[in-house]
């Protein structure tokens, strides 16, 4: 299987260097999220991939084609790489209409063919009615769609999205998140999304690459990286959170019933109806451990499981339970001793419905 192989170093005068070593298989798991705090070098890596910035050393190969090789002095210009880049502020050409913007990267075809390709992409992204307008007359969400249409119309081989939702207001961002995931899925292109937003990473990504201190620390399926950080640095970046693949099976009275493995949990209704695929997110501090099984109510979920591992974390104890899936709980040292938390011990884990956040995978 072909892959995107990145091994680059970009130094900044008087600043930290960005080193990225990353191999992403193309084809399966199309959306990779590059996740990390601001200043970690996420945007630098995207710009190097797009050919807008030149790494100081290293190589970039895409499916056997060399895009950059500092030793061999290969540096393909952006146009030859055929990468679609979505800028954070969308960077639409203000002097061109939406139609001209979308058609800008359509090359090597006559006028009629270009108009037809633009119309096809526009109707796919629901912006056909906007074609005669100028970017100044569009709302934030519309600009985002137009920018995506412009990138897709150029028929790229790889799509790069730099904080695609960050410039939008909160309601628009929430509405567009699922739609963007759907568009990326249908486009069937390998995509790399840069974000520092955990919900965005969960909603958009298939694969997560965690970037911290200028280096790629861990790569894996999104919920795995969130649930099982490889080291302390990654854990600090992603936070201590359980991210459980879930399915919404019912919704009533502002609550949603979700299936996690074989267990059924009550959570707050995420709002938008649609696809049942979701992640249930629970902060480890919100998992309460008890010895005796208590009566479960709609507001209180109860799971039973056996302790798999225990680790001290400052004044707290981090206990991992096997409840059919892995669940991490952070409890005080005091209660850990009282409950006799040790590998093999059977315990009940209690989670309030409002402590479970549902992130839908698409609209």
């Amino acid at each position: 299987m072909s892959a995107l192989e990145v091994d680059l170093e970009r130094r900044f005068a008087g600043g930290p260097a960005v080193r990225a070593r990353l191999t992403l298989p193309l084809g399966e798991a199309p959306v990779t999220v590059l996740f990390g705090p601001s200043g970690a070098g996420k945007t630098t890596i995207l710009r190097c991939l797009a050919g807008l910035e030149r790494p100081d050393a290293g190589t970039i190969r895409f499916g056997g084609e060399t895009w950059f090789d500092s030793a061999a002095e290969v540096d393909l210009p952006p146009g030859r790489r055929r990468v679609g880049l979505l800028f954070q502020d969308h960077a639409l050409f203000p002097h061109l209409t939406v139609e001209e913007n979308v058609g800008y990267g359509v090359r090597g075809v006559d006028r009629a063919e270009r108009a037809q390709q633009v119309a096809a992409v526009a109707s796919r992204l629901g912006i056909a009615a906007l074609l005669p307008r100028r970017p100044g007359q569009l709302s934030g969400g519309e600009r985002q769609r137009v920018a995506l249409a412009r990138a897709l119309a150029a028929r790229p081989r790889l799509l790069l999205l730099d904080e695609p939702l960050s410039s939008l207001d909160t309601p628009t961002r929430e509405a567009l998140r699922g739609e963007l995931r759907g568009t990326l899925e249908r486009a069937g292109l390998p995509s790399i999304v840069v974000t520092h937003d955990r919900v965005e990473a969960l909603a958009l990504g298939d694969r997560l690459a965690v970037l911290a201190d200028g280096a790629v620390r861990q790569v894996g399926p999104v919920h795995e990286v969130f649930s099982a950080p490889a080291d302390l640095v990654v854990a600090r970046v992603v936070g201590t959170e359980n991210v459980l693949p879930a399915r919404v099976i019912d919704r009533r009275d502002g609550l949603a019933r979700v299936e996690v493995g074989k267990a059924v949990l009550w959570a707050l209704d995420p709002g938008h109806a649609g696809e049942p695929e979701a992640y249930a997110c629970v902060r480890a501090e919100d998992v309460v451990l008890e010895a005796a099984p208590a009566a479960a109510t709609s507001a209180r979920n109860e799971l039973s499981g056996a302790v798999v591992s225990v680790a001290a974390e400052g004044p707290l104890v981090r206990a991992t339970l096997d409840c059919g899936f892995r669940l991490v709980a952070l409890v005080t040292r005091d209660s850990a001793e009282r409950l006799g938390v040790a590998p093999g011990r059977a315990l009940a884990a209690l989670i309030k419905a409002q402590a479970i956040r549902i992130v839908l995978r698409s609209r």
Binding site: A50, G51, L52, P77, P78, G79, R82, V83, G84, L85, F87, D89, A91, L92, F93, P94, H95, Y104, G105, R107, R150, A151, A154
Partner: protein
């Protein structure tokens, strides 16, 4: 009113403006985007005619135009006549003299073009030239038009350089401002008034056009 002088001034200003668009735009784009260490030096050379007495520029050009000087000899071989006191010599002098009036507004407008838009164009497969003509130039258009208008008006009004390298050959180098000087010398006040009024009206119209073309605020970009 010296119609030949009016025609000549217009022809000179029009050709100078065209030459400044052709030479000045690439130079301005380089000034707007280059990180070269030579940039301040080039900027100073371009701005020099703003502060240099026109007679100094004219004197050095006259020296360079001399039939024995390399520039003068090359052009004389090409044109069949010497550069000094010819229309071609005047055109070359005008281009140099009006250079800052065109290149400075060009460069200012081009450097205000959002670099993200230029990068977006590259990412969509456009090369440097295509990006310049489809993105940078259209976005910098008000500044480019303003620079062209200023260069045109400035060329119409130039006097010192024309006198030094052009002299006063009717139909060849006798421009409006020279004709005005002549009229005053001959105490022909009526002709001087007519010529002055034309020059005043042209300059005023040029400035109105330039200010009307400036973006009113940073948001209207």
């Amino acid at each position: 009113m010296d119609l030949a002088a009016l025609r000549l001034s217009f022809a000179l200003a029009a050709l100078t403006t065209v030459a400044l668009l052709a030479l000045g735009l690439p130079l301005a784009q380089w000034l707007a985007t280059s990180r070269s260490r030579a940039r301040p030096v080039v900027e100073a050379v371009v701005s020099l005619p703003l502060v240099l007495p026109p007679t100094v520029l004219g004197f050095y050009l006259l020296v360079a135009f001399a039939p024995r000087a390399p520039l003068g000899r090359g052009f004389a071989a090409l044109l069949g006549h010497p550069l000094a006191f010819s229309f071609e010599g005047l055109l070359l002098a005008s281009v140099l003299y009006s250079l800052p009036f065109a290149v400075q507004p060009f460069a200012a407008a081009l450097s205000r073009v959002d670099p993200r838009l230029v990068e977006a164009s590259y990412a969509l497969g456009a090369g440097r030239l295509e990006t310049f003509f489809r993105v940078s130039l259209p976005l910098a258009r008000p500044g480019v038009v303003a620079g062209a208008v200023l260069a045109f008006a400035h060329t119409i009004g130039e006097f010192g350089v024309v006198l030094m390298v052009g002299g006063n050959v009717p139909g060849q180098t006798r421009t409006l401002s020279i004709a005005l000087f002549d009229a005053v010398e001959q105490l022909d006040w009526a002709a001087a008034h007519r010529t002055s009024l034309v020059l005043l009206a042209l300059s005023f119209a040029a400035l109105v056009a330039t200010h009307a073309l400036q973006p009113r605020s940073s948001t209207s970009r």
